[in-house]
Symmetry: C2
Subunit: 330 residues, 2 copies
């Protein structure tokens, strides 16, 4: 799906697969095996956020679209991200130590350097999943469920997410392999098609039950309006959504997964790079979107930083580029 | 060549190829295409260091095996690495700003954090290639050549390296594709077999012209004796060489390349992961070494941190592991 050029030859290459589906579950376009399982990882956070709305938790705590965007996103641990989540936790009577996602340094390099200079260790607030986890804590609080263990597969929080995931993807999860995500909660292996269908149902929710359809529209609106809370200043997802002015909603996940909602075409997209490399997912996503006619020729040329990013040497000179595999353009 | 497991299934997988050769240029074992070109990148630094010895530059400036190891290595920018290179540059009448490798933060996380705390930007000394570049400057100084532009393909420094590379690999470089390495100097695309043959000739130099054979033995000795200068405290190459007590000499390069010298078997090894991912190169290298009988059963079990490293979540729990593809064990 992607080639890494250095000088006159391809130095490395990435295989992968992609599926485009509609809300009825039909595969509209496909590269590679649509049925082989994939862990959707963080690409499915917008679906994991649905119970936050459907339980009424979101409304009962007076939350707003920015918090919903943080629940759908993988923020980069910028100061504004962590401040918002800390304040959110306060509103539900929780504290950062209630988050079960573990700590990692902010993905944002400046924010990470700020912590080092301050001599302050990273906390669970800086974890890119802390917005999703704040959402999970919020539904547990609202439903009067135990806070501790909200990430365990048998906790009602995870059971609700599992049910929403099964309905949105159209996949039976009874026999689905289940792994542990980087943030400690279950991640179910689904056919790649299922992830694309879930995205299509966010793009076009009118056949969903009305409560679900309303939640899907709220998720889509928050995702589109608050791109900087979905990732961060330097995030691929954020920068791409800003560059295309919401024409595509993008959510990346670990190990080379990306999902996208195409609101105008009412389609969903899911893509997995076999080897799990982010650089390949990015250019392949752009090529698939181009193939679908999402961009006109002028807009496409203006997006070359996304579909042909330079490979630079340490002195900053371009010595190559990462390109979609030629076949993906056709 | 490698599988990334999460829970009960493989989440990601890596393809690649590997060649084992002897000093006569014979392929002893092979996985995948031995003839397709590869940029050897930093895996070939031990060959790039030969002219430092063969010109006499190394001796005329009174250098010692630790400097030779730094020239062969990709150091992690620890304080001792940069101190040694700064002192070396002083001995040849050069300064850090003469290095053309560009600057990047130290690969060593503690050293990088130290710079941030000190408010000091990274310099070319911290570049993992600064030892190789110090060696290049040393030969230019010794031969009375211009310092500026020593990294350009037509500079005598690079011409000598090119000649050594052609002889050691047994490859005609006249038509070889040439890219620019991360540190700005030429990197020639060679058949993967050529890189393995060059390593075999370091393992078993007795058929080489005597000056070359002597230089090869010096390189091998410095590489084996100063593992902490080849990489660093947290480097795969360093930790593996320490764990096997020099039974294998390892040098990794960018984009999933690794080369190894097997002194007892008098063989050389070269391996490239198609997609350029370091994690896959590491476990695949171990599997190939195991296949060659480099380790007895007990030693092999003790090396599981190298051939089956855990995939952990942010809270530090093991949620999977990276494994050589099953076929590589046989």
């Amino acid at each position: 799906m992607a080639e890494v050029w250095r000088g006159p030859i391809v130095e490395s290459q990435h295989r992968g697969r992609a599926v485009v589906a509609d809300a009825a579950g039909r595969v509209v376009a496909c590269w590679g095996d649509a049925e082989a399982p994939v862990y959707p990882r963080s690409a499915v956070k917008p679906v994991q956020a649905l119970p936050l709305l459907e339980t009424g938790a979101f409304y009962s705590f007076g939350l707003e679209p920015p918090e919903l965007a943080l629940a759908c996103g993988s923020h980069h641990g910028e100061a504004r991200h962590t401040r918002m989540i800390q304040s959110w936790l306060g509103r539900i009577g929780c504290k950062p130590s209630d988050l079960e996602c573990g700590a990692h340094p902010p993905f944002d390099e400046d924010a990470a350097a700020d912590l080092i200079r301050a001599g302050t260790p990273a906390t669970a607030l800086h974890n890119n999943c802390s917005g999703k986890h704040a959402g999970m804590l919020t539904t547990a609080r609202h439903c009067g469920e135990p806070i501790q263990g909200y990430g365990r597969p048998d906790h009602p929080v995870q059971q609700r997410i599992r049910a929403a995931l099964a309905e949105m993807t159209g996949c039976d999860l009874a026999e689905a392999p289940c792994g542990t995500d980087g943030c400690g909660v279950p991640t179910f292996a689904l056919p790649l098609r299922g992830l694309a269908v879930a995205m299509a149902r966010l793009a076009d929710p009118h056949e969903l039950p009305s409560a679900r359809a309303g939640a899907a529209e709220r998720v889509r609106e928050a995702w589109a309006r608050h791109a900087t809370l979905i990732g961060g200043r330097t995030s691929f997802d954020t920068k791409l959504m800003q560059a295309v002015h919401g024409a595509v909603l993008v959510k990346s996940g670990g190990e080379g997964v990306v999902a996208a909602v195409l609101p105008r075409l009412k389609l969903g997209l899911a893509l997995k790079i076999d080897d799990g490399t982010p650089r390949a997912k990015n250019v392949a996503l752009l090529a698939v979107l181009h193939h679908l006619g999402v961009f006109d020729a002028g807009r496409w040329q203006g997006l070359s930083e996304f579909w042909a990013p330079a490979v630079t040497n340490w002195a900053g000179a371009a010595v190559g580029s990462i390109r979609p595999a030629p076949g993906l353009f056709e």
